[in-house]
């Protein structure tokens, strides 16, 4: 056989290459189109937030406003009420994230590293708690939170969200810890670590991506929760961002620029957080079944 490529083969190779390019171009085009359609509602939200209310429905629609109209943002950012919504959401979100991460990681470590009497039952119990309909819990929860004297406090929300977030923290962290070989535990035990030392000094540094994705997910859960935030608080000072936005709808009626401005501002923290760590989160979602 000679090394010279036969003309027929050469054209075939060129054709093959050309077909591959076409296919790639088609895939990119399809992806770009689909992505634009899927992201459009978000873009439109930003667009409307930057237009005066008179232009919200003006035709033909323009994605880019003629002039940027910042009144909505100015109004929202200067109003102490909105600031209090944001602060409440941060306090609740961060507290729930920290607590559920600590408690959840401890439990996940127990599940991942030990075989003990009742371990399967306990694990199934934790998974089951992910499935309990929140709406079913609403009415009795109301009673429990009132009974504990936590009605209309951020503590009530923190405790509630902790209950909802914990199963996810446990399942996700358990999934991560399971991917770390037990050799590390044994090496660390021989090096002189206590069980807690094994977890804190050896496993957690390795599980950092898992911790990040669990934390982000928990924060998202707490930041976005609506039903219990609505039912377990009453005063303006205790409202969180989602409830705040929903109340604007009634209060402001047609002020789309302000509502959308606050929606954008209220979504920004999770959006930024998500973008920063999204490669961890995407991996983490698959580690444990995670709520959609």
């Amino acid at each position: 056989m000679s090394d010279i490529v036969q003309p027929a083969q050469a054209t075939q190779a060129v054709n093959e290459e050309r077909r591959r390019r076409w296919r790639q171009a088609a895939i990119y085009a399809a992806l770009a189109l689909v992505t634009f359609v899927m992201v459009f509602p978000i873009l439109w939200m930003i667009s409307v937030s930057l237009k005066p209310t008179t232009e919200t429905f003006s035709l033909p629609p323009r994605l880019l406003p003629e002039t940027f109209h910042w009144d909505g943002y100015a109004k929202v950012l200067t109003d102490p009420k909105f600031r209090s919504f944001l602060i409440n959401s941060y306090v609740v979100g961060l507290a729930v994230t920290a607590l559920s991460l600590v408690i959840g990681t401890l439990a996940a470590f127990g599940f991942s590293r030990y075989r003990f009497f009742g371990d399967r039952v306990a694990k199934l119990f934790v998974i089951t708690t992910q499935m309990v309909p929140t709406i079913t819990l609403l009415i009795p929860y109301f009673g429990v939170i009132v009974f504990l004297g936590l009605y209309d406090t951020l503590w009530g929300l923190i405790l509630t969200y902790l209950t909802f977030a914990l199963p996810y923290s446990i399942v996700m962290m358990n999934g991560y810890l399971d991917t770390i070989p037990k050799d590390f535990d044994e090496a660390a035990t021989i090096d002189g670590c206590t069980p807690l030392g094994v977890l804190v000094r050896v496993l957690l540094p390795v599980a950092l991506p898992g911790i990040i994705s669990t934390a982000v997910y928990t924060f998202l859960l707490a930041w976005n929760e609506f039903l219990f935030a609505l039912a377990l608080t009453r005063s303006m000072d205790m409202r969180t961002v989602p409830v705040g936005i929903s109340m604007m709808v009634g209060e402001f009626g047609l002020k789309w620029d302000e509502m959308m401005a606050f929606s954008v501002i209220g979504s920004l923290p999770v959006l930024i957080l998500f973008m920063l760590v999204q490669r961890f989160v995407v991996g983490g979602l698959s580690a444990g079944g995670v709520k959609g």
């Binding site: 044994e186 660390a188 002189g192 050896v202």
Partner: protein
């Protein structure tokens, strides 16, 4: 340097008994290799010495102390793991220093020790790297370094070379041997590789199904096996083990008869398992005066300096050896000489040696 006494060691997993009363006595400075097929209990034994598995029965003493209830860190041991178990988030330096930091050793002392050991193992230029940036052999050395810095009474190795490729394994084997000569520590070393066992050990303990099959020096194990299992386990290619019938003049092996002396007490007509190493079966032309049999040779494996000769004897497939330059035709009958002076005889029922 400490002696290790393992007395009647038992391990239960629920109702399943994994170890049936193991007794091993290891002298100070001795290199003891536990070897056997997977599931034989060798790793379990090692991990019980380490304190990673609870002891269901019996006693383990390191030095003069019974360590049964002690935590791993209190036992004066260090361990090298099969997968190295280097902490991925720590540098090589911190991997080695970790146990010393945990025991609250003063920093300068830690630094001195780590650098000294790094020097011995030629790890000094790698101290600031993370394990992810090391090659297999380097990781292996870090794992050993981590064990050495603690200056333990006993080293435990759990199949430390099984993740390396063949060439590196040979190098590391020699390195471990040299290290032992230098440090003179007591070592328990688990492997399933009989070459490692033969080359490294002062004492080999062969285990099977949670029991000790035989223990002794490599020489004793190789040249004086007690059981069919030991005979077949040690040596590569493995010893030929064939069912034979004793005849008045020797053995009947398939259709061939081989003249040889048989142990006293074996009457003609008795069945026996005869073991003979491939090295002791050579072409008849090189070995005048030995018992010969003409057998059909069905396969020749060229290994370079020698060739393996596969042939059939009755329904048994057997292996002999010849020099790498000897020309033998496949598929033709060929006279082979059996060095029956080095043959072993085993009882087919108990599988124990008939001496």
């Amino acid at each position: 340097m400490s002696r290790i006494e393992i007395r009647n060691l038992v391990k239960m997993y629920g109702a399943h008994q994994a170890l049936h009363g193991i007794d091993i006595s290891i002298q100070p400075g001795e290199f003891c290799v536990l070897v056997g097929p997977s599931g034989c209990g060798k790793s379990t034994t090692l991990r019980m010495v380490a304190g990673l598995e609870t002891i269901s029965g019996g006693e383990i003493a390191i030095g003069e102390r019974v360590v049964n209830g002690l935590r791993p860190k209190e036992r004066g041991i260090a361990m090298v793991f099969q997968n190295y178990a280097l902490y991925p988030a720590k540098t090589v330096y911190n991997n080695m220093a970790f146990s010393l930091q945990l025991s609250r050793m003063p920093k300068p002392e830690i630094d001195r020790r780590v650098r000294e050991v790094a020097d011995i193992l030629e790890l000094t230029p790698l101290l600031e790297r993370k394990p992810g940036a090391l090659s297999g052999g380097q990781r292996q050395r870090v794992a050993m370094g981590r064990a050495i810095v603690r200056d333990p009474e006993v080293f435990l190795f759990d199949e430390p070379l099984s993740n390396l490729d063949a060439k590196l394994r040979g190098q590391m084997r020699a390195e471990i041997k040299r290290l032992h000569q230098r440090l003179q520590n007591t070592i328990i070393y688990v492997t399933h590789d009989q070459v490692e066992a033969m080359t490294l050990a002062d004492r080999i303990v062969i285990m099977r199904d949670g029991k000790i099959e035989q223990q002794g020096t490599p020489d004793a194990i190789f040249h004086d096996p007690d059981t069919v299992f030991v005979a077949g386990f040690m040596g590569s290619p493995p010893m030929n083990l064939v069912d034979c019938m004793v005849t008045p003049t020797g053995l009947k092996l398939g259709d061939s008869e081989i003249a040889c002396a048989t142990p006293d007490g074996l009457r003609a007509g008795a069945r026996v398992i005869c073991g003979i190493r491939p090295d002791d079966i050579r072409p008849a032309a090189d070995q005048p005066g030995r018992a010969t049999a003409t057998v059909p040779v069905d396969l020749i494996e060229q290994l370079g300096t020698e060739k393996l000769v596969h042939f059939r004897a009755g329904q048994h497939s057997m292996i002999g050896k010849t020099g790498g330059r000897v020309d033998l035709a496949e598929g033709a009958p060929h006279p082979l000489a059996f060095d029956m002076a080095h043959a072993y005889f085993f009882d087919p029922d108990t599988e124990r040696r008939i001496r």
